[in-house]
Symmetry: C2
Subunit: 263 residues, 2 copies
């Protein structure tokens, strides 16, 4: 039945392989990330048309110069007040507020905001770890969907012209459950969601979980092979096929008015 609904996004597989792409050194501001990753991608097994490349956002931010020295930041009154409340450096809070359009929760030890992109996460995705030298922080890429599209274009020739998917990932905490998980913050070439709405399962029942955040599930797979301690920013997943409109990771953001947990 799903086969006939060509306008629905659908990502599917029966057998997957996924591996970390090693050999990418430290990424510096101004570097061409796509170029930097070409040789490691080829050495790790190359790319095939339906492969998906997972990229941690941090190397995109670093290459794009989205790092800020805290010494250059003068916190405003709101940042000082919130910094006091949550127990964070007010300069860090100032950067977080500049990267945000709403504060969702500000409590001792926790600052959750809605970023300028619409992501809801701790510290607006601003991160002190993994950046060379002293008191620097890294912000999320300005437009992760666009970053994914740029990398995809640059790597298409490695994948015989594609379709090729690229997913930019970050690690987000979540309500109710312990443990952060990787999610997709930018996608290109592959739909961010699979939509089974209105479809029946093999017994003729309406599917209850009818929209699946497949790009988030694929992002999680990336976390599993890249690890946290080893600074590996890239992974390849092989074995999917997909169809339907591309959407972009913005499609993974639930509008506030439709979110029962934002009332």
């Amino acid at each position: 039945m799903a086969e006939m609904e060509l306008d629905r996004p659908l990502v599917r597989s029966r057998r997957l392989a996924c591996w970390a792409v090693e050999g990418i050194g430290e990424v510096l501001p101004g570097q061409d990330l796509a170029e930097l990753c070409r040789e490691p991608l080829i050495r790790s097994g190359g790319l095939q048309p339906w492969d998906v490349v997972l990229v941690t956002h941090k190397v995109i931010s670093k290459a794009a110069g989205r790092t800020i020295r805290l010494a250059e930041i003068v916190p405003g009154d709101a940042a000082v007040a919130i910094g006091h409340r949550v127990g964070q450096d007010p300069r860090m809070v100032e950067v977080i507020l500049r990267e945000s359009r709403a504060v969702i929760r500000a409590e001792p030890g926790v600052l959750v905001t809605e970023t300028v992109h619409g992501f809801i996460c701790a510290n607006a995705g601003v991160d002190r770890s993994n950046v060379g030298g002293g008191e620097e922080v890294t912000c999320l890429p300005e437009n992760p969907d666009l970053s994914a599209a740029g990398l995809r274009s640059a790597w298409l020739d490695l994948a015989e012209g594609g379709p090729l998917g690229v997913i930019v990932t970050d690690t987000f905490g979540r309500p109710f459950r312990e443990g952060a998980v990787n999610v997709a913050i930018g996608t290109s070439g592959i739909p961010a969601l699979s939509d089974h709405r209105g479809l029946l399962d093999e017994r003729g029942y309406l599917l209850h979980a009818s929209t699946i955040g497949t790009a988030d599930e694929i992002a999680g797979l990336g976390e599993l092979v890249m690890g946290k301690l080893d600074g590996i920013p890239l992974a390849v997943v092989r074995g999917f096929s997909w169809r339907g409109p591309e959407l972009g990771a913005q499609a993974l953001l639930r509008p506030a008015a439709q979110d029962i947990f934002r009332r």
Copy 2:
């Protein structure tokens, strides 16, 4: 550094393979699920010591007879009132309330509860799809960690004695993000979380996302190969190693008092 912290749970990989296990027919009440899956597991490539088997909760519930005919349910006053509010069959709501210890949100079209196990999900995981014949619903397994442990014991010989991990999965919606994703509701043999707390990354910075819900990420991988429309209840993931205390999927539940989204 992580290598020296043997008491921390840690799941790691550099290269994974994952495949759906086909050929498992409809599961009926009273059947021995572990036995039913043995031949399909062997035919799909067998098991190796460090494999992880993913099992959708529904086949466990079906084999355990956790299905209820709605015709036999007389809804109480609370179920009638909530059913009216959310727009659901009050008999279905009665089952959901029996499976729950708290109602988290009850709004038109949405009933989110905290199940007797502590999971926060829509309809307490009670599901009308995928069950043979008429007006039946399926509840979550009574103790998914125990179900995982039972299946693991039964399959250990296929995996040369293990360690072998088993993860029982369900598909949950989540706040803020569109698209449901698979999560772990029961685990055995493999830690549910990876704990990097206090560890430094390769640049010497404290990791910001320091506890990772690895079992949830692995569960998501299962969704990707099992699909939603084809009734495939089992998948195998190969390529992990792990260490540390086993915990169980209960470790993935954030205590209400520590959850800023439950205040």
